[in-house]
């Protein structure tokens, strides 16, 4: 059943929902990179919680007008209006008062969410039976989703994705160095507003699938996971889009096979799994790679120290150093240096003396900057340069 869902074999509706969730995830992942890099991640939390009163009010208005209170387009419109109002409140509070953005977010988030919950309760007592499904906006649900709803979600995700691609350069520039963008004539506020607008669009489109409580995770988790894999912002956006898309796809498929589970948490958990994998396994920034690198570096330092101690006839006390020296064949099991070890040690000492001379000479400033106590000078200078250095070294080299 799960395989069929993953490979889109569960019929038109489930297929479209899965594709819609994947598109939404891609758009959310890509948008989230700019929120994350611009340190605005929590603004999206305020936006998402601010959608709830809009959902409630839209329902009430649509019922009062004699329509179907659950029409998705109307609910999304309402949620967009109230999310926009919440966004304006946050931005106004930060600009016009001395409140920090974190405090403004906290205030707006709780007030709007509280009001939304009150509205949902009122609706429940008002029109019992007909409000079924509204609470699915909290945690998301794809069960029984209509064809039209799925089309709205897929289209919304695709449009946001296209806009992110279009605006990627100015948004990256503002996240990196807003002052420079302003000084070059860019409109920083408008670019930031566009970024927030995209986050709001993701939130509104994703309400039905992921739910308002967890949508922030779909914006942020792919971005932080993708950051482990690359040092280039364009690549981070691509990878975050892929991680978000995969989370949406798998989450929706799992949800299709287990309709009683809310969809949002499943999508978020899949995303978290990908985050965990990135954290552990990514080359470069992943923690396993970092630990391996650190260990390799530590061994090189110990070996170098051991060789220098050997060359200068000093005893070696550290056990790790001794073990490494033995393993490299520099000393015998009883601790006596081998022929090869002595030769290696002499070379290390020579290298150290050359470096010492090099670093005391301002003419070699560029080369001296590459000193790390480990790199042999042969890798930094040409044989000719080293020969020249050795000519200066001679007198004190003997002493």
């Amino acid at each position: 059943m799960l395989w069929e869902a993953l490979f889109l074999q569960l019929g038109y509706n489930a297929t479209l929902v899965t594709i819609g969730a994947a598109l939404l995830g891609m758009a959310a992942g890509a948008t989230g990179v700019f929120l994350f890099l611009g340190k605005r991640a929590l603004v999206s939390d305020a936006i998402s919680h601010a959608t709830l009163p809009g959902v409630g009010l839209a329902f009430i208005v649509m019922v009062a007008l004699g329509g179907d209170g659950r029409a998705l387009l109307g609910l999304l419109l309402g949620s967009a209006l109230s999310a926009g109002l919440g966004l304006l409140c946050v931005s106004w509070l930060t600009r016009a008062t001395r409140l920090g953005e974190d405090a403004a977010i906290g205030a707006v988030l709780s007030v709007f969410f509280g009001f939304g919950i009150v509205l949902l309760t009122v609706i429940q007592s008002m029109t019992a039976g007909r409000q079924a499904g509204l609470e699915s906006f909290l945690l998301g649900s794809t069960a029984g989703m209509l064809w039209n709803d799925a089309v709205i979600i897929a289209l919304g995700g695709a449009v946001v994705l296209a806009l992110v691609v279009l605006l990627r350069r100015p948004m990256a520039a503002v996240a990196f160095d807003p002052e420079y963008v302003a000084a070059s004539g860019g409109d920083v506020r408008r670019i930031e507003l566009a970024m927030m607008g995209l986050a709001m669009a993701i939130t509104v489109v994703g309400l039905k699938v992921v739910g308002l409580i967890l949508i922030v995770a779909l914006l942020i988790i792919p971005a932080v996971a993708a950051r482990f894999w690359s040092e280039r912002v364009g690549h981070v956006v691509l990878i975050a889009g892929a991680i978000g898309g995969a989370s949406g796809w798998v989450g929706a498929a799992v949800s299709a096979t287990a309709p009683n589970l809310p969809t949002g948490p499943i999508i978020v958990l899949v995303g978290f799994g990908l985050f965990l994998g990135s954290l552990l396994l990514a080359p470069g920034r992943g923690i396993l790679a970092a630990a391996l690198r650190h260990r390799r570096f530590q061994r090189r330092v110990h070996l170098r120290q051991g060789l220098l101690a050997l060359a200068q006839g000093q005893p070696i006390y550290e056990r790790l150093t001794l073990r490494l020296m033995r393993a490299a064949g520099h000393v015998r099991a009883d601790g006596v240096a081998t022929e090869a070890g002595r030769a290696q040690a002499a070379r290390a000492l020579q290298d150290e003396r050359r470096w010492h001379l090099l670093r005391s000479d301002p003419r070699h400033e560029a080369a001296a900057a590459r000193y790390d106590g480990l790199t042999p000078l042969e890798r930094v200078l040409t044989p000719d340069q080293i020969a020249e250095l050795d000519r200066e070294l001679k007198p004190e080299g003997i002493a």
Binding site: L37, E179, Y180
Partner: protein, 264 residues
């Protein structure tokens, strides 16, 4: 009024009118809260010269630059560039901010930072082509950083980062360069490189304005000074305007030990 008349309509790459100052500031006042950071400042930048903006901490040096570029909104006053409004001449002005202001862990390489200097030409959709990359590399080699193009920006030393930001400004291929403390907290090699690049710009006829805090090098590095302490104190060639009297007026009692030979 003559400034207004010099306007050109709808030309994509405005020609600089060299009969006007590259940067003329009139009555500029900027205030954070209710304390003015700069008050009614006039400044006329000499074309083709290197000008140092000098003054004590909190005198409004950086604010003057930022207001001139529209980064902070002035309460009053006007800015014109080559006799035209600032907005028309953006493409001819390059800016180098103080180093501390960016996120050093940002996923961007040295070459990407330099390419940001060409964002105006690249726009939203144009692809980065080999010619752009070659130009970025040549800007990097002018500041001696061509060997670092693929490094993440945070892996560089402070002086190297500063040189990369200078390369980004060079990539704008501007006629007027505004630099905020280019020599603050950099090593001797970087300082030498930066001043060589700036003098080279001057030799090519460009105009350079830099906020500067090391009074002992003013005479060696710059042609002109602009002394400020909230109000303008003095403006003119180093020989006549960088004197003990003007420094005293700008710094008040705060300048206890004037470096010997700084004033000439």
């Amino acid at each position: 009024m003559a400034l207004r008349l010099a306007r050109e309509g709808g030309h994509p790459k405005p020609k600089a009118d060299h009969s006007h100052s590259p940067l003329a500031i009139r009555g500029l006042t900027v205030s954070y809260g209710e304390k003015p950071a700069i008050f009614s400042v006039d400044m006329t930048v000499e074309p083709g010269a290197m000008t140092a903006i000098i003054g004590p901490n909190g005198a409004g040096k950086s604010t003057l630059l930022k207001a001139a570029l529209g980064v902070v909104k002035p309460l009053s006053g006007s800015v014109s560039c080559w006799g035209a409004p600032l907005a028309k001449m953006r493409a001819r002005i390059a800016y180098m901010p103080q180093r501390a202001s960016v996120d050093w862990d940002f996923p961007t390489r040295v070459i990407d930072v330099v390419l940001m200097g060409m964002q105006r030409e690249l726009g939203l959709l144009r692809r980065v082509r080999t010619t752009h990359l070659e130009r970025a590399m040549s800007c990097l080699s002018r500041v001696g950083m061509e060997g670092f193009a693929d490094r993440q920006i945070g892996q560089l030393s402070g002086g190297q980062q500063q040189r990369v930001f200078l390369a980004r400004a060079l990539a704008q291929e501007a006629d007027l360069y505004l630099l905020d403390e280019p020599f603050a907290g950099v090593d001797a090699a970087t300082e030498k490189t930066i001043i060589a690049v700036l003098k080279d710009l001057k030799a090519k006829g460009m105009t350079v304005v830099a906020v500067h805090h090391d009074l002992s090098t003013v005479g060696d590095y710059f042609d002109r000074v602009f002394l400020i302490n909230t109000h303008k104190v003095a403006e003119g060639p180093v020989g006549t305007s960088f004197t003990e009297e003007t420094l005293q007026a700008a710094y008040g009692g705060r300048l206890a030990n004037l470096p010997k030979g700084a004033v000439g």
